[in-house]
């Protein structure tokens, strides 16, 4: 059974601090996606990582992918309150028309 696990599930951090969210998955895949979801809202695409060693950065967020370790990270630099949301990683499997989401990390940034 495919598992996509995120760590931590809940994260409370102060503004200005750095932290990393981890996403481990149990199947072979070269494609991993990160999404953001605000409470009661839809999912917003953040990053698309398509190969081993891929690194992408947008603002205070940086995502990387290590397909050999089956691990992706989402690093937060100098957190601000606006980053408070739930972050999901998702793995693309099989034909590419099937995605499995991680357990989600609920991030709260405290002013």
């Amino acid at each position: 059974e495919l598992k996509v696990e995120q760590n931590p599930l809940f994260l409370s951090m102060q503004e200005g601090k750095n932290y990393t969210i981890y996403c481990n998955y149990s199947t072979t895949s070269d494609r991993l996606y990160w999404y953001r979801q605000d409470p009661g809202k839809s999912l917003e695409s953040l990053f698309v990582l398509l190969s081993n060693g891929a690194v992408k950065q947008e603002g205070r967020l940086m995502a990387s992918l290590d397909t050999k370790a089956r691990l992706s990270t989402l690093h937060i630099t100098a957190a601000v309150h606006d980053l408070s949301a739930t972050y999901f990683c998702a793995v693309e499997v099989n034909t590419g028309n099937q995605f499995y989401f991680g357990t989600g990390t609920s991030l709260t940034v405290i002013p």
Binding site: R31, Y35, S42, L43
Partner: protein
């Protein structure tokens, strides 16, 4: 830019009733996905369509069925509704380029409440 459209946005049904959710993907996108997200849960993949053909199935109950029409819109039909079907149902669309999915664009979701 056009986004994924879902209707209705909210739906309240009784147990054992049926429901139909509609999704209109972004124009020229060739793949549609359906997800179910329970409260505090991650989105669960239900089913996907590529070029109007069913592509993959996930944890979709036998009581549910879906199809994609010639105009690329998709419908998720849910019968014999149960209390546990109460959830947010998302539709997403994407464009496959060179054999991989660029990203999925999610609709606003349909909140289904089964009483």
């Amino acid at each position: 830019a056009a986004g994924v459209i879902q209707s209705p946005r909210h739906l309240i049904k009784e147990k054992r009733e049926t429901a139909t959710l509609k999704c209109y993907p972004i124009p020229r996108h060739d793949t549609v996905y359906w997800y179910q997200q329970g409260p505090g849960q991650d989105p669960q993949f239900l089913i996907s369509f590529y070029e109007k053909m069913q592509s993959d199935k996930g944890s979709i109950p036998d009581r549910f069925s879906a199809q994609q029409f010639s105009d690329y819109h998709s419908e998720l039909n849910m019968s014999s509704l149960e209390l546990g079907d109460s959830a947010l149902y998302f539709c997403a669309s994407s464009l496959r380029t060179a054999g991989f999915t660029d990203t999925q664009y999610f609709g606003p979701g349909t909140r289904l409440t089964v009483l």
